[in-house]
């Protein structure tokens, strides 16, 4: 009982870790604790949190989607290409989000309708979407679409598409008061996802499927439809992450976010989600994402090379899972022993 209480407060632990982290870093370098700096420094890494929130929903069902990082780039380049093709930026944003959701829904459809491991499906999609993202400019040229500038769409393939309108880049650089837009968007997405997960039927379905898709099916949960929807939502979140990053860098690129995969999955797992499904929280993911993000910022502020960051992140990922496994084993052993003693006693008393 004590142990489940402990795991229920996993988010609380993360919050404590975050506070300690900030305090320690602040003690070493007081400049770090300047609220405005602190808030604006999140813009460097919130795209990880946005994508991780989407992935939390997917991992809740016991699945996984590693193609999100490709969808980030795909959404970014779709936005850029629509822009240079002369479309209004608002339309380009909607198109990019639609492409991301569609890509996710496609993942979900293949996963729901076949028994192929989600990891394999989304590995193929990882290549497919990143390939489409890099190949799209030349394809548009071949199809004869017209772009601004001399070199056609292909000219934008490698250096990225700059010159995006202020109304869009404001999403990346602007803010309301001290709070930067990327953080606002992240919090918004996290709140909506958290609401979906804890307050709606859909969120409960995710959990039920994650604990047992077979029991869910026998109970009448629309398993396939739920899976397709959740992968679509993940695609949507990845697209949002891609657009936020695009606005922040003021440049649309097809390879945006490619290295984020480790951080995204670590944020989800460190946030308390079980890779086997049925367990996890959006709040946990959000906090874990902040812990990881500030860790990097802090180390940089301390003048430590950022090269050790992935080492620490990797160890955190492995360590947090190993810790959970160890405590689970102990718990089961104790419970079985206790049950045996009770039964034994009962039998002895009955003289049997």
């Amino acid at each position: 009982m004590k142990l489940t209480g402990f795991f229920k407060s996993w988010e609380f632990m993360l919050a404590m870790v975050l506070v300690i982290e900030l305090v320690v870093l602040g003690l070493i370098n007081p400049a770090f604790l300047n609220i405005e700096n602190l808030l604006f420094s999140t813009s460097d890494f919130v795209h990880v949190i946005i994508a991780a929130v989407g992935l939390t929903l997917v991992i809740m069902t016991g699945g996984i989607d590693i193609s999100g990082v490709s969808i980030m780039g795909l959404a970014s380049i779709v936005l850029g290409l629509m822009f240079v093709a002369g479309m209004p930026i608002g339309f380009a944003v909607i198109a990019a989000l639609a492409v991301g959701s569609g890509a996710g829904a496609f993942n979900g459809t293949v996963i729901a309708k076949t028994d192929i491991n989600p990891l394999v499906v989304t590995l193929a999609m990882l290549f497919l979407y990143s390939g489409i993202a890099t190949g799209l400019p030349t394809l548009l040229d071949m199809l004869g679409f017209k772009a601004y500038g001399a070199g056609g769409f292909e000219a934008y393939q490698y250096e990225g598409i700059g010159g995006l309108p202020k109304s869009f880049t404001w999403i990346g650089a602007g803010g309301i008061g001290w709070v930067p837009m990327p953080l606002i968007i992240t919090v918004l997405i996290a709140v909506v996802a958290s609401y979906l997960m804890t307050r709606t039927r859909f969120g409960r379905f995710l959990k039920l499927i994650g604990v047992s898709d077979q029991v869910a099916r026998f109970t009448g949960v629309p398993v396939q439809r739920t899976l397709i929807t959740v992968y679509a939502l993940n695609g949507f979140a990845a697209a949002v992450a891609g657009l936020v990053l695009t606005a922040y860098f003021t440049s649309a690129r097809s390879d945006l976010g490619a290295e984020a995969l480790l951080n995204i999955i670590t944020a989800v797992v460190l946030g308390g989600s079980s890779i086997y499904g049925g367990q996890g929280s959006v709040l946990g993911t959000f906090l874990a994402g902040l812990v990881l993000g500030f860790l990097r910022q802090g180390l940089l502020a301390l003048g430590i090379t950022s090269d050790v960051v992935p080492v620490i992140v990797g160890l955190l990922l492995i360590g947090s899972v190993a810790l959970k496994i160890g405590m689970g084993v102990l718990h089961t052993k104790r419970a079985n022993r206790a049950a045996y003693e009770t039964e034994r006693m009962a039998v002895a008393q009955n003289g049997g």
Partner: protein, 345 residues
């Protein structure tokens, strides 16, 4: 014989040949021996990673750290050479680095019980970070250029490395086929509980699968550094996913137990050939990933459809067998039994 023809390896091999031949109708240069040899040569790195990956996937695991392990091994290889170690010793150092990297994965997965994807994703970050920490983030150049000698040496106009690879593949194939403990990889992946019940040390088997994946990544690092003559920071970047794609494409099921070294070899060749074919077709290289992803998706979905058909047929056959047996015996039939209770009671 039929079994070979029906195998996934063969299917992908046919696809490969068809692809090369159809590209040849557009550009004959594809069929020049030098082209084919070059494809072979440039597939070596991926092939070694894929062979290592095969062991892990056979046992129903997955290793996304092999690229990073190769990178780390390459750095150690470079250091060793720059420190003046003789080539064989430096090679050994790279192999041992890879082996150790794999053993860490094996420990975590087999003995602690961490899910493979989590464990190897963690070490992916750790090894790649370690690689940068060791080198301070800069490339290792100024490697004694004699190491390139074994990369450029050719017999019968085929690079020495390709010959070595052929030997390695044959040896591994023989071992996998004949060596009893090597068959444990298959048994553990095919039926984990069954293997355990039959007395196979399933944990040790999984441990060695990851260790071998690491060792092969070390070997891949040697090939890579030999071919380009320096150690860039990107060594092995993203290659882990390609290695997984290669073995899955070649017919190693992520559900374990199926596939062979030929899966890894043909899968790696196919993915490398796709890149080359794009060049001959003058398709921009930017489409390579899309094609690779599409092929992988198409093959696994096709494979799913075949498996489903086979399974349905087998169930139907069994039901028919049951029914025939019923007809043979049921002279009396079920309703007659209802009359008998009086006799028994």
């Amino acid at each position: 014989m039929m079994r070979i023809l029906k195998s996934r390896e063969f299917l992908v091999l046919v696809l490969l040949v068809v692809m090369i031949l159809s590209v040849a109708t557009v550009n004959k240069a594809v069929l020049y021996p030098i082209t084919l040899i070059n494809i072979l040569n440039s597939s070596l790195f991926l092939m070694l990673l894929a062979i290592g990956q095969m062991f892990v996937v056979l046992t129903r695991g997955i290793d996304v750290s092999v690229g990073a392990t190769a990178g780390l091994s390459a750095v150690i290889f470079g250091f060793a050479l720059n420190a003046g170690l003789p080539l064989p010793l430096a090679m050994l150092a790279a192999l041992v680095t890879g082996l150790l990297g794999g053993m860490v994965n094996g420990l975590g997965v087999a003995f602690v019980g961490i899910p493979p994807i989590i464990m190897t994703l963690g070490t992916l970050g750790a090894y790649r970070g370690l690689m940068r920490v060791l080198t301070g983030g800069s490339w290792i150049e100024s490697i004694p250029q004699n190491i390139k000698s074994f990369a450029v040496t050719r017999y019968l106009s085929v690079p020495l490395m390709v010959w070595t690879m052929v030997a390695v593949v044959i040896v591994v194939a023989l071992l996998l086929w004949k060596l009893k403990p090597a068959r444990y990889f298959y048994a553990v992946g095919d039926n984990y509980d069954g293997a355990y019940l039959l007395g196979i040390n399933v944990k040790m088997t999984r441990f060695w699968a990851f260790s071998l994946a690491g060792a092969f990544a070390g070997a891949a690092a040697v090939v890579f550094v030999g071919q380009i003559g320096f150690v860039p920071m990107q060594t092995g970047n993203g290659q882990e996913l390609k290695a997984i794609a290669a073995v899955v494409l070649g017919g190693v099921s992520l559900m374990g137990g199926t596939g062979s070294i030929w899966s890894a070899v043909i899968g790696a060749l196919f993915l490398t050939a796709v890149d080359s074919m794009m060049i001959f077709l003058k398709v921009p290289g930017s489409w390579n990933n899309a094609v690779a992803g599409f092929v992988l998706l198409a093959v696994v979905v096709f494979d799913f459809l075949i498996r489903r058909t086979v399974r349905n047929r087998r169930l139907a056959a069994r039901a028919a067998e049951m029914r025939r047996s019923e007809l043979d015996h049921d002279g009396a039939g079920a309703p007659a039994l209802v009359q008998t209770p009086e006799a028994t009671s």
